[in-house]
Each structure stands twice: as C-alpha cells, then as structure tokens.
Symmetry: C3
Subunit: 396 residues, 3 copies
C-alpha cells in the first residue's frame, strides 16, 4: 500500500498563480500571505461570512450520532446554530435552530430525540421535514399559509458517514464528487461504522486565516510538534500539501516508513477499521482523508482510527478549533483501545498550535506588519488556499 | 368594580396601520416585527438614543425615596446618569450627574442627602436648583458668568407619587395629561403613600425591542408563565393589550374572575391601599396602572400593592430590566405583609422572560432571520408599538 | 539652588492661542478641553495612533536594565510590542517584536538575554542588529534577499540613562536637543547610575486625554492629593505648568520652601544621587525633570530618587498608566532606603488620580457633555497641550 499515491490525487501541477499582497504575481520567486487588513478588519470578516462561510461544506458530525429517527444534535458555526436531525432511516436534514415566528431557538439541549420541533416560546411546531405543523391560534390558511413558513433549511450531505453542512442558500457543490478520490479507501475502512470517543474544542485569539495558514504548512512541525513528528513523514507532508490545490482535496497524513498509524509510537491504538480487523499482517502507511479550504475541515482516517478537525469562525480576532476522534463502533474501551492513547498525539499538537497561532496573530496586528516570503516547498499549500479565498471573496 | 372598563380607555379602534418589514401595510392579514437590522445594528441603536430614549418619560423612582429637602437618588438610563433631588417640599429636580467644568460625577453614592452639589474634582458647587454657586478661583463674572454653566437639567414629573424623567432637551409631553385616565383610581389608592420594599435588576443579552415585544404580548404566557397565569385573566389580557395604541396608556392587569390581586392565590398580600384599608368586603378585579412604549415603563397598581417595571437600554445587544415592588407606607413587614409573598409572582415571571428574550434574540441575530407573522389577537400590542417606534425614528 | 529657575526654561510667553471646542479662539477669556467626540470616537483614536502615538518619543526604560550585550526587555505601547536590546556597550536598539516571516513574536519573556533573535515558529533568526541571519530552507539570495527582511526598527534614544522609543517610521526629533535644558542637572545627579526599585501599572477606564488633562493640572491637587501636597509647592506648580508650552519640556516638581524631596515629610528617602552623596548640607528645592505631551511621559528627578510616569494608550476608552521609581544604583535596601517610603507619595497619588479620571470620563461620555471653562492659572498647561495635539492631528 502506497500512502503517497493516495496522498496525491492527480490535481495537476501547480496551476494557480501565487498570491502576493493580495495581487496575483506570476513572475515572483516567492509568495506571501495576505495584507494585514485581511486579518484585522471587521468589515472583511462580515464579507467572509457571506462569501466564504456560506459557500462551502463544513464538517458537523457523524451518522453514528443519529441512529434513530428524531435524533438530533446542534452545531454552532459562524454565528449560526444548526440542528441536524434524522427524519428517516435514509434521510438526515439540517435546519437553522430558529423559529419562523419570533426567532426563539427550537432546541436547547445540544442533542436529543424529538418527534417534532416545538418552539418553547409560543408553541409553534414543525415536522422533522421542517414543515410548519401548527401555529396556535392561527390555523393554516386563516391568517397565513403554513407552506410559506417552513424552517430555514441548511444543506446536509453524508460522505461515508461523515456529515457536512452547507449554510448558503444557493446550490451547494456535490460533496461526493469533490471527495470522489477518497471514496474507495473509506469504503474499505467502513467509515460509517465508527463512533466518536472524544472531542476537544478551543477558542483562540486569532483570525481564522491565521489558524488556516498554520494548519496548511508543516514548516513549523519539526521545531514545534515533536510528538506528531514521531510518526508523520515530514518530507512527504511537504510534498503532500503541495497538492492541496483545490478547495476540496483528499489524501492521508503520510507516515514515516514502516509505521501503521499516527500514534505515540506508530503502532495501532485501536482495533483496525473495516475489513482490516481480520488482516493478520497489517499494511504500513495506509490511510485516507478529506479536506476543505479555506474554511478548514480536515478528516484523517488511519487504519485503526480517525480524526476530524474543523474550524468555526467566531469573529475577526476569534476562532474555535474542534477535534473529534473516532474508532470502529464495536471497539471496546479498555479492551480494544485506550482513549488517552488514541487522542495523545493531536491533543499535544493542538496545544502547540494554539500558542503558535495566538503569538503569530499578535504580530499580524502590528500596524507595520506586512507578510513575509513563504517557503515554496514547506508552505506551498498556503498560496493556493489564499488564492481560492480571494476568488471566493471576489465572486458574485 | 370592572377591571376591563378600567383596562380599556377609549383610545378608539385600531387606528394605526400595522407594520411589515418596516413598511406600512394596510392590506395584509398579519403584521410582523421589524427587519433583523433593527435589532443588531449599532448605528440604529445610536439613533434610538436620540430619537427614542431622549423623547419619552421613563420611570425612575417614587416620592417616598425623597422625603426631606436635599434627599437624592441616582438613576442610570441609556448611558446617562441622572440625579433626582428634592429642592423643596413641593419641588423635585433632575440633573445629569455631570459637573459642567470637566465632567466628573457629582454624586457617587446611589442615594443620600446633600445641602448642595460639590464636585469632588475641583470643588465646583451647585445649588439644589442646579445653579453654579462657586468655581474656586473663578468668581462669578471674572472669567465667565455662572449663569451660563448650570447643571444639565433633566425633566422630572411626579404622577401620583411615581417619578418620571425626561432626558431630552426639547419640551416634554405633559405626563399628567397622558395618564389622565388613571388619575382617579390612583388617587383612591393613594399611591403617593407607598414605600418600596424590594427591587430586582437584570442585565439581558438581547436588544431592548426584543424585551419590549416580549412584554407586550401574552401569547407566550400560557406556556411559560404558570405562576402569573394563576391570577391574570389571559383572555382579558389579549383584549387589553389590543388597546395599547398610544405610546402612553393606562389600565390594570386584568384578574381572573373573583380574585383580588396578582399573587400566588389571588388573595391580597399586604394591607389594602388608600381608603380600601377600612373596607371590609374588598372588591375583586380592582386595579389601575400606566405604561409607556416603546421605551417600556409599566406600572401596575393592585388593591394591596404596586409593581413597576422599567427598561434601561445599555447597548444594541444588551438591556437592563428593573422591577420594583411597593406596599402602603405604614404597612409593617411580618405583620401586614411578607416580602417574599409580595414579590413571588413577578420574580418568577421575570426569570422566565429573561430566558425567552435571550433565546429569541439568538435567532433574531441569525443572518437568515426575517420576522414571522404576529398573532392578530394575542400579539396585537406589538404592531402599534413598533409603528410608534418608526414614527419616532422618522421624526425630526 | 532655585527650583523655579530650573522649572522654567525660556520657552517664551504663552505664544499659542488657546483652544475652545476645537477652534482656536484668541479673544476669549477662557479655554476649554476638546469637544466630547474627541474622547469617545473610535475613529479619532485610530487616527491618533498614526498622528500622535507614532510621532513622539515615549519612555520605555532605563539603561540599568540592559547592562550586558544581548540583554533585552519588552515594552507594549498602543498595540505594538517593542523589544529593546543592547547590541554593544555603546548601542541599544529597538525592534518590533514581530518576525518578518509570519509575524510570530520573537521574545516571549518580558526580559532576558539573547545572542540572537530566534523566532520559535519557523526558526528564522536575526542578529542583535536586526539583520536576518537565517531563514531555514531559504539561503540568502536563493528565494529572496535577506537584506530586504530585517526586523522592523523602532527608534531608541538614551537621554541621561532614560530610554525612549519612537514608533514612527519618519525621522524622529532629536530628544537630546529637546531636553537640553535638563542636561546639566541630570549630569550632576548622574541619572545613568540609577536602578529601578519598583513599578506600578494601572488600567483605567477612560480616554488617554482625560488622563493627560488630569496630569497636566494641579487645580485638583489641594482637594484630592493631600499626600502629594505635603511637599509639592502648589502655587509654584501652577506657575510651572504654565510654562509647559512645548511638546517636550523640562523642569522639576517644585517643592515647598525648605524641603529636599517629594516624600511623606520632605526629607530624603534614599542616598543622594550623583555627587550629592558626599555633600554634607544638602540643598533644598533641588531637582530636574523632563516631559512629553500630548503622549504623556513625565520624569521627575529629585536629589535622592527619581520617578517616571508614562501613559500607554490601549483603546478609545482604555489607557494604562505606569510609574517607575529609581534610586542610585549602589543604594542598599534597608540601609540606604526603604522601598515603601520611596514609593509612598506617588502610589497614593496614582490611586487618587485613577478614581478622578474614571469618574470624569463617565461625564465626558454623557451625550450632553460639553467641556467647561478651564482655570487660566491652575489648568493653564492643558490648552497648549491640546493645541499641540490638534496641530499634530492636522499634520501630514
């Protein structure tokens, strides 16, 4: 099994010009990040909500969280609260957690099971399909037509068990097509049959793009992420991120030769996923994954466990970073896996990244800051992501 | 005694067009609240300070707080601090708590007794009439004329013992005329002879109009205010609020048939007010009150006690809600009334309303929010209040 | 020795017109502070960062903090973080604490000793002269030229041992010339041979100009600063501040006749500075000092100790006030001085001023506030400082 083959879908050679100071420069030997204004302007942040956060799929959860009809969970994202709910065995819907009457939140608990949505303010009720069922005192058609007041829909797509939300009102890209290159690997790993065993969430004092840029490069890994570098193949990573030319990309974290997973020692930390459970001689370097930029979602699926990171913008200088860990759904804690062992690497790495991002953002806020030269090899994923960002900001 | 007769001054039939999306719509079957922008825009809030909060009377206290000449109290409102002070047996004045020299606050303690105002910064002093008496080192006329630098006056009107402040600099409406319909009842209840026994103050994370709208309708009462609904007559309330067509209105909280007051069981919780103290067979359903919208002040006077609610705007997404309770001034705690019993209903109701308002505002902040259809009967007081609001915002 | 002779460098008679409501008025009998807008507008604050805070020298420390090559300390100022570092026995440099690559802070500890700057993010390194030494993976000239990416320089000037920073990129005024009148006195007091024994730092809820104005006048001292007035000569102070016509000024705090220093009783609190250590009969009223307005730095050097105050703007309604105390560097605590005794007067005075400033700012924020008449004698330093402020704000 060849990790790098998986890591490098044929997206073509670097086909986007790099970005310098917000202007495309074809003839330069290096690229930079964006001008300071992009990281500190509240107006630009407000525009990003429309142009970026409402125009891409964002990871929100896993099908295993919604086994029964009526199961729901809430996810906050860029100031919006979305309820993800199972309407039927084969149907999962998303709605803004906002009653159409006066705006009161429909669900208060972060997760639960409901037969219908009942707003606790004036008891307007909605079906799991989002249709207004009853507005007390106003029968359908008497004062207004119920069909005009369904819940605000949020797009939901299930990709191999991972649930994504689309907050825009225009037509969303087809996620299955975007992630097609990872489908085969994830089917073999049977990712719908996972369960979440842990999640972490951090609020950082930095612009969300500072966090994005940090995630997109491993130039800093050798000096700052000793735990991660025990198993991750840095050289292959540099090459791998070089291929993240599309806003939707696929591929695993490349492992050092001979290792089986990202863990403290490269050995598996839970029972192998999917059909690998019965394989005696596990392959090394196996894995897959998916990613979305610039609104960063990154799923990493190893042979024995999965990790999903997701960025949740809060304000121009504030962002939330979430990480969730998954093992196969029939794995037994204490027998098949030890939770602390599964989460060890990324827990350590997240803490290291938080300090880096917050201290980088301190400098970006300096009135004399202008972005410096990016490394063509080890920071090569940043320019295309920022180019995508600028294209989205310029789009209608 | 007929509560509803009191509750419905002849203000005429619904003579204002309702409001939809900020535009007057005469031909619609329903109204809505205002577009989202009105609840989240800092610019609109700043305009409201000028156009709304400086153009209406707001409840600030009761004459019983200022028995002696020189007694004062401070009230904060919409970023301003006002000192209300008794200049003479028959004269109560209001001033901004701001020295004319460099702006230092004149009074630090929330209440007290003074012979004159002495600014602790440079010892400029002012009489209880607001006139500058002495600026150390600058005798009157030597450098400037004292008459040019009196304290900034705030209008104060005493309506049956309840004190109101007017923060604008233009001529204030005559409150006595506005509340004329309630005068007879309040005289009979002898409301100047009350004393405050408790006050509560809450800061809510919502726009002040979200709190206003919540207060103006009892559509949510049945589902959310069980304690209040034990004694309040919901159907009469729907009809009663329907009459709140004027920015200044009068009338009581209508009681369920056969009850004497708003309390946990409808029985009186303190010695009857005014002449009713000597009445053996107390009437049921008796009461009066006054109100101001859109800057919400609401006074409710029952046969045995009084409650005043007042809204204090803080910022576009932050508002203070105050409630004060009064009994007759010669009532003795533990003998004539039990404080916990007097405050039980509104303490519970306020807590319920706070959660409703904050959760409604969460949805109003959603970028896809637009206001839904209001109930023509049970939310009928909202459209005229919002129409008043828009008229005031459009006024010179 | 004549304190007043020192206090009054020949800056000429009051040659600037005073300021009223932002307009120069030559014919008025009194001046005022600026219109309210100047104290509450975020836009004006942002302009001040460019026009004021980047155009004047600000006190940051003392040479005694950097005895060895490589010694550094960090100072925050108006949103910027500067590293002040000794490059050589005769050279002290200042740099923004910002890596040229991605902006990460170079130094985390508030002070220390380094051989070179190494950014902990991607290990870019810089010499003590600010030159980029190494960018891992990008040899000089391969992708970019190192000479194009030195650290952002901040001007540093050492005036008699006191270190000042200049955050602008234009040519800074020559501080030695500006403070020339104080040079002789400070040489005699040998101010480079001091050591810091204490510092205090307060964050105040007020505009920085409210703090400036408070500092510039002693009209409030008699009523509010009893401790300070035990030794300071109020009448001479009024006259002294009258001379602060230039943005850079010199002179001591005038003492009451017969006293030697500012202390609880006018007696010295540490071993005399410089050559005075061996003087048997110490002069009274001796001292010197320097000051900068409108960005307030004020150094006061007595015969036995020194105090430096410095203002650090944070936001339109938030400012930091720092005070540091110095004694001669060979003085021994417990023998030559008692720390509590040295700091007693200004610790008390600072606390009094904080309350005054915050309560004055409450009134300035009132929408009806307009500035009142300033005292021609006791507040006479405010108008020229505000005139300087307006001139700087209007400058290119």
């Amino acid at each position: 099994m060849d990790a790098k083959a998986t890591a490098r879908p044929e997206t073509g050679a670097r086909r986007r010009p790099h970005v310098v100071d917000g202007v495309q420069r074809l003839d330069m030997r290096y690229s930079t990040a964006l001008p300071r204004e992009y990281y500190v302007s509240k107006d630009i942040y407000e525009k990003e909500v429309d142009k970026i956060f409402s125009r891409q799929w964002t990871f929100v959860g896993h099908v295993s969280e919604l086994p029964k009809i009526g199961d729901y969970f809430i996810q906050e994202f860029a100031g919006e609260s979305v309820v993800v709910v199972r309407e039927a065995a084969d149907k999962i819907n998303g709605y803004l957690n906002v009653c159409r009457h006066r705006g009161h939140s429909l669900c208060a608990a972060p997760r639960g099971n409901i037969r219908k949505f009942v707003c606790p303010y004036h008891y307007w009720s909605y079906g799991l399909d989002g249709a207004l069922k009853n507005a007390p005192g106003a029968p359908d058609g008497a004062v207004f037509n119920y069909q005009d007041w369904p819940l605000h829909r949020v797009g939901i797509e299930d990709f191999q068990g991972f649930l994504f939300a689309y907050f825009g009102t225009d037509e969303a890209p087809r996620l299955g097509e975007k992630f097609a290159a990872a489908r085969g690997e994830l089917e073999r790993l049977n990712t719908p049959a996972l369960k979440e065993i842990h999640r972490e969430s951090y609020e950082l004092n930095c612009n969300w793009k500072t966090l994005l840029e940090n995630y997109l490069e491993c130039y800093h890994c050798q000096g700052s992420h000793q735990t991660l570098c025990k198993t991750m193949d840095l050289e292959a990573m540099y090459a791998g991120t070089d291929e993240w030319q599309d806003p939707y990309f696929t591929g695993p974290v490349p492992l050092r030769p001979g290792l089986k997973t990202v863990s403290l020692n490269g050995e598996i930390v839970s029972r192998p996923l999917g059909a690998f459970a019965s394989v005696v001689d596990l392959p090394t370097g196996y894995g897959s994954g998916f990613g979305v930029v610039p609104t960063l979602t990154r799923g990493i699926v190893h042979i024995d466990h999965a990790v999903v990171h997701a960025l949740r913008p809060i304000d121009v200088g504030r962002v939330r970073w979430e990480t969730r860990w998954y093992v196969r759904d029939d794995a037994v804690e204490g027998v098949d896996y030890d939770r602390e062992n599964v989460i060890a690497v990324w827990t350590a790495t997240n803490k290291e990244d938080i300090a880096l991002c917050e201290n980088a953002y301190r400098g970006v806020r300096s009135r004399r800051f202008r972005p410096g030269p990016l490394d063509n090899k080890r920071e090569s994923a940043i320019p295309p992501a920022l180019t995508t960002y600028l294209e989205m900001m310029a789009a209608e």
